[in-house]
């Protein structure tokens, strides 16, 4: 038996060469072996990412190509892109759900941005009681969406809720709110605005505090009024912050599930009036046990979100540059 040891020859500082074994195979030097240590050190993080992100994603994509029904561990067959075709040609549930997802997100996020910016401008300068106002503003953020949903269901109950009693004082007839097919989505958007406007305020306030004061001062000296200073000085400088806040809140709003499910139940209501893509996918999974189709909807939803994020990121980068 012949034993060969690894040769080690330095050709310069920090450099090493590979010596060939008689068999022709290269040996691994100590430095090379040491470099591979990084894989061992990275292992926990890579394992976590693999298990928690990559595996579910790959699993869902795989499931979306099958006719899995009833149980994911039961037998299923590959059906190619059939589930995607079924989803994309479904004008009764899928496309209306896409429309509601977009409507809900756009409506809620635009309102939250406008109101959040207005509140941030108001709170930009210190005033007496500012800390109390900020604390009160944070309260909706602390509650879980399910608790908020139940709270608003009680307030807006058409028969026993306090909202209709209050409207009665000003002569407005009772409303059905979440019980109405036409009012459900706008009502849910307003609840979302109530909960998430404070977050937009905090983000935009943080952006406002970093703005230099000189340009605004110069504009004031030149005779620009408050509105002109806001439109021509503050808004352009705050654009990057606004876009970042829009991306963060927009992606979050797209994924809204708990609030809708807590208030409207399975299917987003009797006429699917508040069924967004998330609620639809949940229903396909847990009410219908159609795992293949549900996975296809989720994959399409993920692609949809990724596309929006990419577009917004590019806009952010362009505006930053």
């Amino acid at each position: 038996m012949t034993t060969t040891t690894t040769a080690r020859a330095a050709t310069g500082p920090g450099k090493s060469t590979r010596a060939a074994a008689p068999s022709g195979k290269p040996f691994v030097t100590f430095e090379q072996a040491n470099r591979r240590l990084k894989w061992a050190l990275l292992a926990p993080a890579l394992g976590f990412v693999g298990l928690m992100i990559a595996f579910p994603l790959v699993f869902t994509i795989n499931l979306s190509l099958t006719d899995a029904f009833g149980a994911v561990n039961a037998g299923s067959s590959y059906v190619g892109l059939q589930n995607f075709t079924d989803a994309l040609t479904d004008t009764r549930r899928f496309w209306p759900a896409v429309g509601r997802t977009v409507t809900f997100t756009l409506g809620a996020v635009v309102l939250e941005t406008v109101l959040g910016l207005a509140l941030a401008m108001l709170m930009r300068k210190a005033f007496r009681g500012m800390e109390i106002v900020r604390t009160i503003l944070m309260v909706p953020l602390l509650a879980t969406p399910v608790a908020i949903g139940i709270l608003w269901m009680l307030i807006l109950d058409p028969t026993n809720g306090i909202a209709n009693h209050l409207l009665g004082f000003v002569g407005i007839p009772p409303q059905e709110f979440l019980g109405s097919v036409s009012q459900s989505l706008p009502t849910l958007m307003l609840i979302d605005v109530w909960q998430w406007t404070p977050m937009m305020t905090v983000l935009l306030l943080a952006g406002l505090t970093t703005l230099p004061e000189e340009p605004e001062e110069a504009a004031r000296v030149d005779g620009a009024n408050a509105w002109q200073r806001f439109v021509h000085i503050i808004l352009p400088m705050l654009r990057t912050t606004i876009l970042t806040a829009l991306v963060l809140r927009g992606v979050d709003a797209l994924k809204t599930f708990d609030l809708i499910y807590a208030t409207k139940g399975p299917g987003g209501g009797s006429d699917f009036e508040a069924e967004t893509l998330n609620v639809y996918a949940y229903g396909l999974t847990f009410d219908y046990q159609e795992y293949g189709l549900a996975s296809a909807v989720l994959v399409l939803f993920t692609l949809f979100i990724v596309a929006i994020v990419v577009v917004l990121r590019r806009r952010t980068e362009r505006s930053a540059s």
């Binding site: 038996m1 012949t2 034993t3 060969t4 040891t5 690894t6 074994a21 008689p22 068999s23 195979k25 040996f27 691994v28 030097t29 100590f30 072996a33 040491n34 591979r36 240590l37 894989w39 061992a40 292992a43 890579l46 394992g47 693999g50 298990l51 029904f69 009833g70 149980a71 994911v72 561990n73 039961a74 109950d157 058409p158 028969t159 026993n160 009772p174 059905e176 709110f177 979440l178 019980g179 109405s180 097919v181 459900s184 409207k264 139940g265 399975p266 299917g267 209501g269 009797s270 006429d271 229903g283 999974t285 847990f286 009410d287 219908y288 046990q289």
Partner: protein, 437 residues
């Protein structure tokens, strides 16, 4: 043989070997451990948050002493329970031993998936258990593909809850559906927030209670394996229920399930209410009801085909196929559904499924007299299902419930029912294919 001696072998971790190591680690982590339960492992029951579960949990020490094992019971709402089963049993979880399931909602799918154990030999071979003592309809619903896979513990029928003080002038509770509609329309003062009738109106949630209206009009969900929801009887039932809620019911009825409808009657804001008889105690509880002294109970009113309510096993016990404590799980089921326990619980106001217990007047003593009579009459006339008997019950309920919602919001029911009928027929073809397991 030539062998290279490599320095610090422990540090040499190529991408390939790292991948192999990671995969092996994952497989090791995911592989099943020893397939026997620890002697100290508790028997785990995942159950519905229901008066039955709360009652049975008080007697658990008796069983724990008998099987020499601790019993833990976790309670969830119906939706949470179904989601939990779906998640856990898809992963072949062994941390559930006994389950409460809705036989008419879950059982066929769970049996197809291989999630619930076959109990046929256990229920049939045990003479003391008296399997044939269970009422026919609930017992038949325990059998899927020829195997007994669950045991009924709670049965349910609709009851007509009404305000005795308001209906006194009309001669008491209505005996027919026509009378009920007339009285509801006469008593309602919608602008003042008082309603002649309240009931479930959610697309899927209302289907079970509406079923009694459907049967009493002479219809059914399916007729000879095909959709029955486009029949004249079904359309009449849709129109009737829609008018009842549209003209005499509260606003926002299409968003109402049990949780929204019940408080309206309990707060004295409706004259009549049809829902499960199992919830009667909510109206006798001073802390949540203002009608404790005025509520009356009556059998389901008669339609053109007579009074034909549903009489169903609402909750049953099943054993997880993946349980490591099958024998103890069966002991739990046997104990909780024994003649003695069913009699004990029915005496506490929880209606069971054993005929011998129903035949014993002492077990009905805890119910208000008029409710006991209503339950007896409804049980005698009852049909054993309250929703389509299919594999994919959730999708079926969504289809069947569509004309119901149209009626409640005042739209044309006939055309929607015809459309839903065609959709339901297509669905039944697909569902029948899935039932071949």
């Amino acid at each position: 043989m030539t062998q290279a001696i490599r320095p610090r072998r422990a540090l040499e971790l190529s991408r390939r070997s790292f991948g192999v190591l990671a995969a092996a680690s994952v497989l090791a982590a995911c592989s099943r451990g020893p397939q026997t339960a620890s002697p100290n492992a508790p028997l785990r029951v995942l159950a519905i948050n229901h008066v039955w579960t709360q009652a049975i949990s008080r007697y658990l020490p008796e069983l724990e002493e008998r099987i020499g094992r601790r019993v833990t019971m976790r309670m969830l709402t119906a939706d949470q329970l179904t989601s939990s089963f779906n998640v856990k049993l898809n992963a072949s979880a062994t941390d559930i031993d006994v389950m409460t399931i809705r036989p008419l909602q879950d059982q066929m799918m769970f049996a197809r998936n291989g999630w619930i154990a076959d109990l046929t030999d256990r229920v049939e071979d045990d003479a003391d258990y008296r399997w044939t003592d269970f009422q026919d309809a609930p017992r038949e619903r325990s059998i899927t593909a020829g195997a007994a896979v669950s045991v009924p513990v709670v049965t349910e029928r609709p009851a007509l809850y009404y305000r005795k003080d308001l209906l006194q002038d009309f001669g008491g509770a209505p005996a027919t559906l026509d009378d009920m509609l007339d009285i509801a329309l006469e008593l309602q003062r919608r602008t003042e927030g008082f309603f002649g009738f309240v009931g479930r109106g959610q697309r899927s949630g209302a289907v079970t209670q509406w079923s009694s209206f459907l049967y009493s009009f002479g219809g059914d969900f399916t007729v000879d394996g095909r959709s029955g929801i486009g029949s004249p009887e079904a359309v009449a039932a849709y129109q009737y229920y829609g008018r009842l809620l549209h003209d005499a019911g509260p606003p926002g009825a299409t968003n109402m399930s049990l949780e929204q409808a019940m408080p309206i009657f309990a707060q004295g804001k409706a004259a009549m209410y049809v829902d499960a008889d199992a919830i009667y105690s909510n109206f006798l509880d001073d802390s949540i009801s203002t009608v404790t002294d005025t509520v009356g109970f009556a059998p389901f009113p008669a339609g053109q085909a007579g009074s034909v309510p549903h009489n169903i096993p609402s909750w049953s016990l099943a054993v997880n196929e993946f349980s490591l404590l099958r024998d103890d799980s069966w002991e739990f089921v046997r104990w909780a559904s024994s003649p003695e326990m069913v009699a004990r619980l029915q005496s506490e106001g929880i209606p069971g499924a054993r005929q011998s217990v129903w035949d014993d007047p002492a077990t009905l003593a805890s119910f208000p007299a008029d409710l006991a009579e209503a339950m007896r009459v409804n049980a005698a006339n009852g049909v054993g299902h309250d929703r389509p008997e299919v594999m994919q019950v959730g999708r079926a309920r969504d289809i069947v419930g569509r004309p119901l919602v149209s009626g409640i919001v005042g739209e044309d029911v006939a055309s929607v029912a015809a459309d839903a009928d065609a959709e339901f027929n297509d669905f039944l073809v697909r569902d029948n294919r899935q039932q071949e397991f």
